[in-house]
């Protein structure tokens, strides 16, 4: 654990990061920007897992395993989302949310 830093301060930072991600997710109008906001949200939850594992249950590693799985799922999700965005751009030449009202293939 970090000397002199309580768990409350780290949880405050991650909560702020989470809500910055939510703000970006709602206000952005571009698919790639929305994807980046999702990354912010996922990262804040990963820090929460790690910090709670380290501060409350230091002799176990479950939080670390869960964060590894979250990172793996996030990587898979990003790869799929980028490929969908590129395919969408080839079909309608735009990645704005308002242009993607038809998802019929």
């Amino acid at each position: 654990m970090i000397a002199g830093i309580s768990i409350y301060e780290i949880l405050t930072v991650t909560s702020i990061l989470f809500f910055i991600g939510v703000y970006g997710f709602i206000t952005r109008k571009n698919l790639i920007s929305i994807l980046m906001s999702v990354e912010l949200i996922l990262n804040s939850t990963v820090i929460n897992f790690v910090v709670i594992n380290k501060y409350l249950y230091p002799d176990m590693l479950q939080g670390v395993y869960f964060s590894i799985f979250i990172i793996a799922v996030a990587a898979a999700e990003t790869a799929l989302a980028v490929s969908i965005i590129i395919n969408l751009y080839r079909q309608i030449a735009s990645v704005e949310v308002k242009d993607t009202e038809i998802m019929k293939y």
Partner: protein, 180 residues
């Protein structure tokens, strides 16, 4: 000393996260996201999970950011200005987020965590043995499932990104919708 480093990292993370969701230039906002991810890796180093920090740097800063930059460059002009939401909507969403943050913080600060003082260092060996153990509390099954998931998503990404172009009838359909 660690205290000062933590505060600097927290400042970097929050300032660059705000810059990342409000910047008008696409590529700059991706680079700000890269700084946020590096700051988070710094926090992992501070709380002594070196393996996790290495994963964060390689997978996020090395892989995902490069993938997003790749898609930005493929899809946009490099100096494209993003369209921003209306000011009223921005204020409304900001207010809702602040309310949510207030709820989170009051809940966190009113909860008594019983923190265990420790300075245990976790080695990569412990993490690897736990991931591969098949006894109670082992993670061998999720570990295998996640590898299958990664393989499936990789194949899916290739199949989707290959795609096929629209034929003429679909193209005219799309154009008629765009004219509306």
């Amino acid at each position: 000393m660690e205290k000062i480093i933590f505060y600097i990292l927290a400042l970097i993370i929050i300032v660059f996260a705000i810059a990342s969701v409000t910047s008008k230039k696409m590529l700059r906002s991706v680079i700000y996201l890269l700084f946020v991810l590096c700051g988070i890796a710094g926090i992992y180093f501070l709380i002594d999970y070196n393996f996790l920090a290495a994963i964060q740097l390689t997978v996020y800063a090395g892989g995902i950011i490069v993938l997003i930059i790749f898609s930005v460059v493929l899809v946009h002009h490099i100096d494209l200005e993003l369209e921003l939401a209306k000011t009223s909507k921005q204020l409304l969403v900001g207010l809702a987020c602040l309310i949510g943050l207030g709820v989170f913080l009051t809940t966190i600060y009113s909860h008594p965590f019983n923190v265990v003082e420790n300075s245990i260092t976790t080695t990569t060996e412990d993490i690897g043995l736990g991931l591969l153990s098949y006894e109670t509390g082992g993670f061998i099954l999720p570990f295998e499932v996640i590898s299958v998931l990664l393989l499936a998503s990789m194949i899916g990404a290739i199949v989707i990104a290959k795609g096929k172009k629209l034929d003429e009838s679909q193209k005219s359909e799309v154009e008629s919708i765009e004219k509306k």
